[in-house]
Every structure is written in structure tokens, then in C-alpha cells.
């Protein structure tokens, strides 16, 4: 029984790193690698923090199965990650969302037994977060709060960073990762910089909501990154450069990854790859080894009109 896992939760991590030669121009001396995070059981990089945040709270004695209800304000990949981790471990999960928001993922989340709390007004994030916090005032409710939970970057410091380092034999010149909560770039960036201080860390954000670049938040289509504020857990010291990527460029590069490499990338993976190609074209990165974090698969977005084949 050596190869049997005790739980789906133990299957998180160990995702493949794939060379992506066909994305580069002919004659490019750059080596480009993608870490394909949709090979996690819940289908995204968020599975790592779903496990990490719940298990950290268990270790701290804050939660226990059958007693604690987990509450988070998300319908994104973190919701899906928490949904399967909570199901597997025996926790109730409630996801709060503002009324009027797209609820297309509810069916998927409901299959894991998750419940939704829809806040009445269209007041944006403040009211759903307030609803989550109001529910957390009783002792048997716990808010992981991915934007401020140190177990988020810690998951990447312990797992994603070392996996990448090992797969690429300790030779990584550039790391490219999108910033949503900032957990990935903080954890992986800190791990890589500890081992190679010269590693150039590139943060990716939506051009139309380039908050890290000093612009105002605005709507954008690159789901999973660009929260509209600077997240508390983001370590900005680890970032050497911020590259804003346009929505259309993210989609176009995601489609190219599918058709040229056979790698069905999601929108934020397309954004990260777009930024990586931008960096790869510079003379100072000749012969560089560039590692790109690719958070989820395009399969998750096929119903979006602007992402499907021929869509814009």
C-alpha cells in the first residue's frame, strides 16, 4: 500500500514543471518553464493554501471537525480549495458573496457540500467581508482570511518554492508570478531569494487595475489576480519588478499556450506567461532560465464569452 494516500488532502502539491520552448521566438537562448498548478486535486494553486490555512488552525487548536464552521468571502479557486479540504476533514464551509455577483461557481462548490451566504446589497467587498466577520463572532466559526493569513505564503515557502528549486536543479534566474493575495510571490520569492539573491522576481498584475504600479483599482478580467488593494501578506521587498498585463493579452497568450504547447492555461496563467515573454525578450535576460507559476487551467473559464474559442 506504499502508493496509497490517506486522504485527497495529501495529494496536494508535487505539480509538474514543463519546458515551454515553442512559446519563444526562434533562436531565443532563454529557457522557459511553467509550473502547472492545475494538477492539484481541486484544480488550482489555491489547494496548497486551502490545506495550509486549515491545518495551521488545527495545529493552533483554533478549530476542530464537527464543531467549527469555516467562513471565507470568495467564490474563486480558494473557495474550491477550502470546499474539498473542509469536506475531506469534516468541517462545514460557508462562503459569503455580495448580491449581484456572478454565481456560476455555486453549483460546483455545492457539490462539495459548501453553503453560501449572499449579502443583500451591492456594496462590494466590504459588506461580504463584514458578513463573514459577523458570523465569526461566535466561537465555533473560523475565518481563514487568505489575504492576511501567514499560512498562505508559508504554504509556498514550504512546498511550491522547494518543488520549483528541485525541478530546475537550483538554477532559476527569473520567477514570474501573478499577485492575487500575494501569497505565491511572497512565499516562492522568499524561498528562491534565500538560495539565489540574484533571482529576479517579477510580479504580474492587471493593467486595468494596476494597484501595485500606483494606479487606481478598476474592473478587469484576469480572475485570480488584481484584488484592487495591496494585500497585507504581500512582501513587496521580494519583488524586483511589476509587469502590468492587459486583459486581452492574458487571454491571447493563454490561447497560444493551448494551441502551440498543448497546455490549456487559465487567464491568470496567460497573464503570467505574457509578462514572462516580455521579460524574455530583453537582452539582459539572454540565456536566462525563467520559471512561471501557472495557477489554473483554461477549462475553468470556457463558459466566459471572452475566453472561449474566438471570443473577445
Amino acid at each position: 500500500m506504499g502508493s496509497v494516500q490517506n486522504s485527497i488532502v495529501a495529494c496536494v502539491g508535487g505539480t509538474p514543471v514543463v519546458a515551454l520552448r515553442r512559446m519563444l521566438d526562434d533562436g531565443s537562448s532563454v529557457e522557459l518553464f511553467g509550473k502547472l498548478e492545475w494538477f492539484n486535486p481541486g484544480g488550482s494553486i489555491k489547494d496548497r493554501i486551502g490545506v495550509s490555512m486549515i491545518e495551521a488552525a488545527e495545529r493552533d487548536g483554533l478549530i476542530s471537525p464537527g464543531h467549527t464552521t469555516i467562513v471565507e468571502a470568495t467564490s474563486g479557486n480558494t473557495g474550491i480549495a477550502l470546499a474539498f479540504v473542509c469536506a475531506a476533514k469534516g468541517y462545514d464551509l460557508v462562503l459569503t458573496l455580495p448580491q449581484g455577483m456572478s454565481r456560476e461557481r455555486e453549483r460546483l462548490l455545492a457539490l462539495y457540500g459548501s453553503r453560501f451566504e449572499i449579502t443583500e446589497s451591492l456594496g462590494g467587498m466590504n459588506e461580504a467581508v463584514a458578513a463573514a466577520r459577523a458570523m465569526a463572532t461566535s466561537d465555533d466559526v473560523f475565518l481563514p482570511d487568505q489575504f492576511s493569513n501567514p499560512a498562505n505564503p508559508d504554504a509556498h515557502r514550504r512546498t511550491t518554492g522547494p518543488e520549483l528549486w528541485e525541478a530546475l536543479d537550483g538554477r532559476i534566474d527569473v520567477l514570474v508570478a501573478g499577485v492575487g493575495t500575494g501569497g505565491t510571490i511572497t512565499g516562492v520569492g522568499e524561498y528562491l531569494k534565500d538560495r539565489n539573491p540574484k533571482c529576479h522576481v517579477v510580479a504580474v498584475e492587471p493593467a486595468s487595475s494596476a494597484v501595485l504600479s500606483g494606479c487606481a483599482p478598476a474592473p478587469h478580467r484576469i480572475q485570480g489576480i488584481g484584488a484592487g488593494f495591496v494585500p497585507p501578506i504581500l512582501n513587496r521587498d521580494v519583488i524586483d519588478e511589476v509587469v502590468p498585463v492587459k486583459d486581452d493579452d492574458a487571454v491571447e497568450v493563454a490561447h497560444r499556450l493551448s494551441t502551440v504547447e498543448g497546455v490549456l492555461a487559465g487567464i491568470s496563467a496567460g497573464a503570467a506567461m505574457s509578462a514572462a515573454l516580455h521579460v524574455a525578450a530583453r537582452p539582459e535576460f539572454e540565456r536566462a532560465r525563467i520559471a512561471v507559476i501557472m495557477p489554473d487551467s483554461g477549462e475553468r473559464y470556457t463558459s466566459l464569452p471572452w475566453f472561449g474559442p474566438g471570443g473577445r
Binding site: T74, G76, M101, G124, M125, P219, H220, G228
Partner: protein, 130 residues
């Protein structure tokens, strides 16, 4: 008669950007053009009209730029459209006059502040997709 040219959407976009950036200090027109992906010289012409009409105020100098001359809550999309593209349906009659009246009604319902606020709210929902 019923035409709305590219002047109006460009101007509304730039005014919304101006509102989103806040009114603390003048915003250079080049910054608004960049944010709205608008040809800068074209925007200069549009803003000159809006300044003369009392919608905007301009300040020269190193820290120069534009601010609202009246609150963005009082600037309707209809006002912007009619300043830049002329009165909607001025010489229209019959069904075209009805269509113009309907269009005017819709454009009068929305202010620059409304649009900016809706965009800011929508931006806030980004975090739920994470």
C-alpha cells in the same frame, strides 16, 4: 441628428478616470489619456470644450492639469454628449424624435459620479474571484 460620435465615449471615459483619481490636485491630461487609452491631442480638444462650458477647470504649470469645475454628481452623460456632439435629435420628427427622447432620458439618468462609483464597486468584487 441622432449621432453620438467617438468624442462622447472618450470624454466620458476620461471624466470617469478623473473622478476615480480624486479631486485633491489637478490631473495632467496625458495621464487621463493614458489611463483611458485615448489619443492625447483628441482629448485636449474635448477637454477644451468642457472647460469653456464650465464642466472642467484647468490649471497651468508644472503641477497643472484638470479638475472638475462642478461636482461630478451633477455632470450627466447627456450634458457631455450634447456639449460635444450637439443636441440629440434637434431636428428629428416622428419616430426619430421619440427615439431621441428615449436616448436623452437614458443619458440624463447617469452622472459621471454614478459610473465611477459603479466601476469602483465592480473593482472591489475582484477579490471574490481569488
Amino acid at each position: 441628428m441622432l449621432s453620438i460620435t467617438s468624442k462622447s465615449p472618450y470624454a466620458v471615459r476620461a471624466l470617469v478616470e478623473l473622478r476615480l483619481l480624486g479631486d485633491a490636485e489637478p490631473v495632467p491630461i496625458a495621464e487621463l489619456a493614458r489611463r483611458g487609452d485615448i489619443p492625447p491631442q483628441f482629448l485636449e480638444q474635448l477637454f477644451a470644450t468642457l472647460r469653456r462650458a464650465g464642466v472642467l477647470r484647468s490649471q497651468r504649470g508644472v503641477k497643472g492639469g484638470y479638475t472638475f469645475a462642478k461636482p461630478a454628481e451633477q455632470v450627466t452623460v447627456l450634458e457631455v454628449v450634447e456639449l460635444l456632439d450637439g443636441a440629440l435629435g434637434q431636428d428629428a420628427s416622428g419616430v426619430f424624435a421619440d427615439a431621441a427622447r428615449a436616448a436623452r432620458g437614458v443619458l440624463a439618468e447617469h452622472t459621471i459620479a454614478d459610473i465611477a462609483d459603479a466601476e469602483a464597486r465592480a473593482a472591489g468584487t475582484s477579490m471574490y474571484f481569488i
